[in-house]
């Protein structure tokens, strides 16, 4: 056993304290961000872990939530200053009431990134459900109306020119319910995240017809804050985004690299960065490696798609007609946004 003298212990303690107390001496501005423990929030975890915000003069508290819709609610209520999460009809309903503004990108569905799958049951395939063009007249299990899965249906409906209303939506609320309904053959198809899709395929319950990202790239998630923060604390918002974008760049550099053939290659600092994300989402690095999403290195948004999302929800009657994309997105923080509508 090693004996530690009191003086040595004291010296160690002082040394340990030195770094944070130094940081505190810099007078960091306190702020907070609401996130889910998902790898798509990787830029947040990386920025926090690597001190990018501290370098920008911020002391950022991460507030964890368990469901996507809780994050915009938390930002609306002032429980968190920023939020990072997937875009849903609920988000646009809150944003449409003037409570939220999108300022940068989170994850995006992209070609070659297998995040969410269109799946058909064996029985449906036998009856001729061969491709995603065959959706009309089928029963599709989703979590809820207004979810990202629902929009994934809208995307192929537009792409292949069928009416999304010709597909019977079966809202099942939870992934376990969807899994059960799919296995029991009570729905013909589901749209599910990669881990569940792999599990269902392994169980021989059905087949993956296509990946959402391969079919239609779209803006899955975003970083947002309140309009009040933008008007009253613009400087803080800018510094927060600066730190966030450094995290996004690291994320992209480590996870989103492809070779000339489009095959995945491990990027800069892959193992260490996976470790950061794995700790934050409380899963094994191996599991996290499956289903890493694409995150734009510069936080650029597919603005046109956000407008499309709003239009789709309005068409489905899930978002009020008076909600306007222009009022929801603030393009002034990040340069080079994509597909910006002209008007």
């Amino acid at each position: 056993m090693i004996r530690i003298t009191r003086r040595a212990a004291l010296a160690g303690a002082v040394a340990g304290l030195a770094a944070p107390s130094l940081a505190r001496a810099q007078n960091l501005t306190k702020t907070s961000v609401g996130v889910l423990r998902l790898s798509s929030s990787g830029p947040v975890f990386i920025a926090a872990e690597r001190g990018y915000w501290r370098e920008a003069g911020l002391d950022v508290e991460l507030k964890y939530f368990t469901a996507a819709q809780q994050v915009p609610v938390a930002v609306t209520s002032g429980d968190a200053d920023f939020g990072v999460t997937g875009l849903t009809a609920a988000f646009f309903n809150l944003a449409g009431k003037g409570a939220l503004k999108i300022v940068a990108a989170q994850s995006r569905e992209e070609k070659g990134f297998e995040l969410n799958a269109y799946m058909a049951t064996n029985a449906a395939i036998e009856k001729g459900f061969r491709s995603i063009r065959d959706f009309p007249g089928k029963r599709l299990g989703i979590t809820t109306a207004g979810s990202t899965f629902h929009y994934a249906l809208g995307l192929i409906a537009r792409k292949y020119g069928f009416d999304p209303a010709s597909v019977t939506l079966v809202p099942l609320q939870t992934l376990p319910n969807m899994q059960a309904a799919f296995k029991g053959g009570q729905v013909d198809a589901v749209i599910v995240p990669v881990t569940l899709a792999r599990a269902l395929e392994a169980d021989k319950a059905g087949k993956i017809l296509a990946w959402v990202g391969d079919e239609t790239p779209w803006q899955l998630g975003a970083l947002f804050t309140s309009p009040r923060a933008i008007s009253e604390k613009r400087d803080l918002v800018e510094r927060f985004i600066r730190g966030y974008l450094r995290g996004a760049a690291d994320f992209n550099a480590a996870f989103n690299q492809r070779d000339a053939a489009g095959k995945e290659v491990r990027g800069t600092n892959f193992a260490e960065t996976i470790g950061v994300v794995a700790r934050a989402v409380q899963q094994s690095p191996e599991l996290v490696t499956i289903g890493l999403p694409f995150v734009d290195a510069q936080g650029r948004l597919d603005v046109g798609d956000i407008y499309n999302q709003i239009a789709f929800w309005q068409q489905a009657g899930l978002v009020a007609r008076d909600v306007n994309g222009k009022d929801i997105v603030d393009l002034s923080f990040v340069r080079g946004h994509m597909n910006v509508p002209r008007s």
Partner: protein
């Protein structure tokens, strides 16, 4: 009657205060929509012609689930209450299964019964079954033994003792159990309609919550409250008729 009036005045006062607080901007309508916008949401539902569809589909599920659950619960409660073997088997069974949150069984129910009406009705029936069984056998236990002994001393056949003494003696307790089980049925409506329901008050509430449409959410909650109030009033009527002797 004056007490009843007080409840109404308090209710109207509260709603008026709520409306005022939202109108004057003390409370953000994002967090708490004004009563008027809740009513407006109800009105929209009415105009869209879907209000009745939501209500009627829910009523069918409630009636089906409650009837099945109550029927089985009464049978089990009687078996436990009057039959010692039934008690030996039934009581540990009921105690072990009652506390299971029925919502956690949804995936299983979907596998067994599909996502049609059967699984929704079963969810409600399961929730109703246990409190009914417990209320029934507790009510039978509470029937005074001296009344049963009296009936036996006059040589009433066992079936008559059951029908004329045990059943009416247990009726107040059973009806009190109905009050609880109808509330539980309403509570479980939302869970039941988590299973792939496109219509129904529970499905409507779920969707409104998922879309953060708080005015619609409260409109759905209001519908459930009205339903609860109506069922409670009906039960009071039934109690008053059946228990006139009290």
């Amino acid at each position: 009657m004056p007490v009843r009036g007080a409840a109404l005045v308090a209710f109207v006062g509260l709603v008026a205060f709520w409306e005022f607080a939202v109108a004057r901007g003390y409370v953000s309508p994002i967090f708490l929509p004004a009563p008027s916008s809740v009513l407006l949401a109800l009105g929209e539902l009415w105009n869209a012609g879907t209000l009745w569809r939501h209500v009627s589909e829910s009523l069918v599920r409630l009636a089906g689930g409650w009837t099945v659950g109550t029927g089985c619960g009464l049978a089990a409660g009687f078996a436990i209450g009057v039959w010692s073997l039934g008690r030996a088997v039934g009581v540990p069974f009921v105690s072990a299964l009652f506390p299971i949150p029925k919502i956690s069984l949804l995936p299983l129910l979907i596998l067994w019964l599909g996502i049609g009406e059967a699984s929704k009705i079963a969810t409600i029936a399961l929730g109703v079954f246990f409190p009914t069984a417990i209320a029934t056998y507790a009510a039978i236990d509470a029937v005074p033994r001296n009344l049963i002994r009296m009936a036996q001393s006059f040589d009433l056949p066992a079936a008559d003792v059951l029908r004329k003494v045990v059943l009416p003696g247990a009726l107040p307790g059973i009806l009190a159990g109905f009050r609880i089980s109808t509330s539980i049925a309403l509570i479980l409506l939302v869970s039941a309609e988590m299973i792939g329901a496109q219509y129904g008050i529970g499905a409507f509430i779920l969707q409104a919550g998922n879309l953060m449409l708080t005015d619609q959410l409260l409109a759905g909650v209001l519908l459930i409250s009205i339903l609860g109030l109506a069922l409670g009033t009906a039960l009071t009527r039934i109690e008053r008729r059946l228990l006139r002797w009290r």
